[in-house]
Symmetry: C2
Subunit: 345 residues, 2 copies
């Protein structure tokens, strides 16, 4: 492994910088080879970091301005300079860090990342990923909210970028790809999706495309990469989170509904602990804005230290992987084969 | 209660007619005041029904042709006459039954229902409902797949029809309504959704409109009626089903991971039985195609007898409710206030 340098926005997120610093504790416990550049209020951070075992592996940069969690992307962009978020991205842009992480305002992070890092050649719209727990392990779903819509060509780009991402992050040689639709039959669905399926089937993109999948197929892990537009992906992701919480509430109620049930739950404690960890959203925290000249990982704003460490680990994994080269090669195949906007309509 | 007459497609669904007949057993155990007109293969049905306690409350009509579960709606329409599904709908159309039920091919059922029953005045697109279990009880979500898209005016219609439906089925005086979006802020989301929100906010439709909700808000029961386009609603519904199954699998694994866990599960059996019944999709089975001159309930094709009885009960509840009048009044308010297609764009 080459030593990795990561740029971290210490002021982003609902409980920054405490969750960030505690998350880095957990991260460094598993990855001692990393160096972290921490952006934020230097006084505050210096005090907080100096007692940590990893204080020597950390550089603090004073960028005390904070992007408000509810700021509009446009207004955040106007006041970007001097913020910890902008500093974090700039460090990635300058090549001083292999990847960056923030738990701050999603819209602002996307807007600043696009402005600073620019899109990779051949990319029309970056797509935001989410890692999704499944019966078989994990899948990646994109776009989960970087855009409101996607035409056929953008869906094909998401497929190419998502496939490269899955190969880099999951270590799968040939990840399978499906298009999210409301039926698995060829003639069903919106025009953009049907056209995207045709392109993915007929062009020699080197992708193992499995056709349409439906909402219930995401959790079974039918494919490694689920491709959809940002609106649908965002609704699906949040609906799944809500459903998991609902069922968890039912389970807790069932196991405390009587003395016998409570005794049963006590006996089953070890199994239930495992269940809790499986349902822990912290274990899959971290979305990546694919298609930019640089790796920026978005952590959930309300995550805990464990969740933040998961996002930092993802950034480290991506930094050490061949992900950027994979995506570039994939995008190159797309444009060579003429699914670029000039030829597709 | 006035005596109700229901029209039932006995041949629709993966395990017809057995599931249908067994489902009627369960239905009649709770509703002895109903009469059922059963459409299908008369020989088969007569043999099956004659031993049942409700055989006198049942009329069998010989319509032996079956709409294949995988038939395209267009081809099913061409061969509609003589099928049990068409016969079921015709009986509703003739006013011989207050409502109809089928577990058959969804696309064919929608196409035939629209052709035979026609849309109510003021309706541009019918919407399919789903009942969604929530932390607070139940909500209704629409459209879950009758259409691929929805413009602002159609979303307003769904809101009006869904609100009337919730009042009739849940017995709520003033159901709350939300628009599914990818953020709760006013400026977020697709144009059609933003325009629909404006119409729902500013027109005096008599609806308790609560603005935008996100995917995770569906399961908390934040609103009684969740309005969305058919594509998004279908993906959300199926994603939730998949997630519930995934979590249930985790729970089963957790409670059988060791001897202690198994012993715990045995002790907690009564609580877990309740959990199982809460997670049972049969308990919320039954979608309704809102906006037609007649009530047709769509049961899940793969449901069991209990699920089918839930769908029949829903048909009976709707038949006895003021739902049709409510919807008509709501649609009338919409067109009077000028959100009809002539004035909105």
């Amino acid at each position: 492994m080459k030593p990795i340098s990561l740029s971290v926005d210490a002021m982003g997120g609902d409980a920054a910088p405490d969750v960030v610093i505690d998350g880095l504790d957990l991260f460094f416990a598993t990855r001692s080879d990393a160096h972290v550049i921490l952006h934020g209020n230097a006084d505050l951070l210096t005090t907080s970091v100096q007692s940590r075992s990893w204080s020597d592996a950390c550089t603090i940069v004073d960028q005390p301005d904070v992007v408000a969690m509810d700021a509009k992307p446009s207004s955040a962009l106007r006041r970007a300079k001097g913020t910890s978020m902008w500093g974090m991205i700039e460090t990635v842009k300058q090549g001083e860090a292999h990847a960056g992480v923030s738990a701050g305002n999603t819209g602002a992070l996307m807007a600043m990342s696009m402005l600073a890092l620019r899109k990779m050649p051949g990319v029309h719209r970056p797509g935001m990923t989410a890692v999704w727990p499944t019966l078989k392990g994990r899948s990646v779903v994109l776009d989960v909210g970087a855009n409101l819509d996607a035409d056929a060509e953008q869906l094909v780009e998401f497929a190419v970028m998502g496939e490269s991402y899955a190969r880099a992050v999951f270590g799968k040689e040939k990840p399978t790809v499906g298009l999210l639709n409301i039926g698995s039959e060829e003639e069903k669905g919106r025009d953009a999706i049907k056209l995207a399926a045709e392109l993915l089937r007929n062009r020699d993109l080197g992708i193992d495309f499995r056709g349409f999948i439906e909402g219930n197929d995401i959790s079974t892990g039918l494919v490694d990469v689920v491709v959809t537009d940002g609106f649908t992906g965002n609704v699906a992701l949040k609906t799944a989170e809500g459903t998991a919480r609902l069922v968890s509430t039912y389970v807790r109620a069932a196991l405390s509904s009587s003395l016998l049930s409570k005794a049963g739950a006590a006996l089953a404690a070890s199994g239930l602990r495992e269940l809790k960890s499986k349902l822990n959203p912290s274990s899959v925290n971290g979305g990546v804005l694919l298609g930019l000249n640089g790796v920026i990982v978005k952590s959930h704003g309300g995550t805990d230290a464990e969740g933040f460490s998961t996002a930092v680990k993802l950034a480290a994994d991506l930094a050490q992987s061949s992900y950027m080269d994979e995506v570039a090669a994939g995008l190159n195949r797309v444009s060579r084969l003429g699914t670029s906007p000039e030829t597709v309509e």
